[in-house]
Amino acid sequence: MSEIRASSVTTSGAPQPTSPTGAADREFTVKERSQLQQAFRRFLRHRLAVLSLVLFILIVLLAFVGPLIWKYKYTDITPDNSQPPSPAHPFGTDSLGHDWFAQVLRGLQQSVKVALCIAIVASTLGVVWGGVSGYYRGISDSVLMRLADLILTIPAIALAAALGNIGGGTWWMIALVLGGLSAPLVARAVRGVVLSLREQEFVEAARALGASDRWIILRHLVPNAFAVVIVYATLLVATGILSETALSFIGFGVHPPDTSLGLLIYQAQSAVQTRPWLFYFPGLFIILIALTVNFIGDGLRDAFDPRQTRQRR
């Protein structure tokens, strides 16, 4: 993104007109910052978003490092069954004697893994889909966008339930299917951005200078559409974890003996009153993830598009 630069005065942070002569002969210290650096600084000022990011990273660490450290594995059956939370079993145990903390850690790991993959698959596919559609327009645009409309009229969970079983219900198949079904959303947004960008002067200038399609797409359109994509990708982690757990809950996602947060809640649904810890802990983690990710997404949106925040502060 090196060619889209704007320098800014360090003290105020407000964008100043770019000086062609550079910073050397100015009396203030002026540092040149790329768009990305500016966005990053604005993000850091969004306290709730930063706090959420820290919390989210901690949860992800817990999901991937926790199972290696914790004394029980999710497959272990301990002699204690139906124990309420205690120092030995922080989240209690189920009726078979599974340590529920180990179960939740495993479920968390699977759910986070699937949610992150959904975001990656959907945004990659969506960028290509929307980019091609918006840049080339014409027939390919109509065909691709009608296909996106079709997919969006069909309840995603129904299609995912029907298709998720193809690979025998492995986690990457679920991620692939759910990611593919969310891609049209990203594609629509990216197409909108590309359509408005390609008419702008700097793209025209690049073309006049003899830039190839490839150059224009990679060096001009992609960096400028980046903000939209990164916000969508973040929010897709939140919807991704909600749809994966829902899918596992209705029985078409992650299968036993493996587990996911949705599956744990399914198994605990009859125990809400007798052994509430089985039900509340997995749900709490889903809420925590979706909540923090939504806040991060909000912070990113504000950071990349400061014009939107005008009314907020």
Binding site: L150, I154, A156, I157, N165, T245, I250
Partner: protein, 328 residues
């Protein structure tokens, strides 16, 4: 107006055909409808399998299967053969349609009413304690898995019933199996009683997103010049809010609602599962489990029609809200 509606219905036919083709191909990939039969122990005679294959049209190429399905549907209203030979998919869908539809329609209405009220209040009293609490609730419900919340509501209902020793909340099924009072009023009361908790749980999920949306669009309108002008003219603030601002601020929400209908139908699948309703969602889950291809097709066709009808209603509402839009 009528001409517009008729034209829109004709335009939606290619969309329906397109989505059924897409789904048909996907369903074909999703599994073998005869898996249950073939895995049976002792194995059934070869002739039985061949007969079933013929009955389910599996011995024909895929495009011909689709063509036969479409022809049967259009000419005879036949939804195709089910894996369960004694079940007529059309009857099954018809019986369950209204169970699901009353859940979805009522949820949409409740979610919309609450979303508009809280969105407007939040926007008018921006940054007040009320705004912050609605915002907090909105984010919380947005992050809450619908099935988790539904189970929570259900168990709260059960706990209340146990504590008071009454049957205040019905938590299982869409109606009582044995009804003592089977007069019209008694039946209505029974069905309404069963709807309370499922409707709330389905409505809350969309409410969260819609109220955030309504707040944003209301804020935008409130900061626009024509609202400032209306205020400057000395109109009463109630009139400015309702007649000038709210009417315009409802237009974006209409679009979002129409777009979310597909997701709501998906949400109904989960709500029906938790509350053990015998609606379309329950039928879908069973069909997927049995690899009942034509039943899945039937479900997807019905829900695609519902989505299209809701979109049409949304488009007609535009013309009510925005006098510049006229459908000829």
């Amino acid at each position: 107006m009528l001409a517009y509606v008729i034209r829109r219905i004709f335009v939606s036919i290619p969309i329906l055909i397109g989505s059924t083709i897409l789904v048909f191909i996907m369903v074909k990939f999703s599994g073998d409808p005869l898996e249950g039969l073939k895995m049976r122990n002792p194995p059934p005679p070869r002739q039985t399998i061949l007969n079933e294959e013929h009955r389910l049209r599996l011995d024909k190429p895929v495009w011909e299967q689709y063509w036969l399905w479409l022809k049967g549907l259009v000419l005879h209203g036949d939804f195709g053969p089910s894996v369960h030979g004694n079940i007529n998919i059309g009857h099954e869908l018809g019986d369950r349609l209204f169970v699901t539809l009353r859940l979805v329609v009522l949820s949409v209405l409740i979610a919309l009413i609450f979303a508009v009220i809280t969105g407007v209040v939040s926007a008018v009293k921006q940054y007040s304690a009320t705004d912050y609490s609605f915002t907090f609730l909105g984010f919380l419900f947005l992050a809450m898995p619908s099935f988790w919340f539904a189970i929570l509501l259900k168990s709260a209902g059960i706990a209340y019933n146990q504590a008071t020793g009454t049957e205040a909340f019905f938590t299982i099924g869409e109606k009582s199996v044995l009804l003592t009072d089977d007069s019209g009023w008694g039946q209505f009361k029974d069905i309404a009683g069963h709807m309370v908790l499922p409707t709330i749980s389905l409505a809350l999920i969309s409410y969260a997103a819609w109220s955030r949306f309504q707040r944003a669009s209301m804020l935008e309108v409130l900061n626009s010049d024509y609202v400032r002008l209306a205020r400057a003219k000395g109109l009463r603030s109630r009139q400015v809010l309702v007649r000038h601002a709210l009417r315009t601020a409802l237009i974006p929400l209409t679009t979002v609602t129409a777009l979310d209908i597909a997701a709501l139908l998906g949400g109904a699948v989960i709500t029906e599962m938790v509350f053990q309703w015998h609606g379309l969602g329950d039928y879908l889950l069973r069909s997927i489990r049995d690899h009942d291809a034509y039943a899945m097709m039937g479900w997807l066709l019905v829900s695609a029609i519902i989505v299209i009808v809701f979109n049409l209603i949304a488009d007609l509402l535009y013309s009510v809200l925005d006098p510049r839009i006229r459908y000829e």
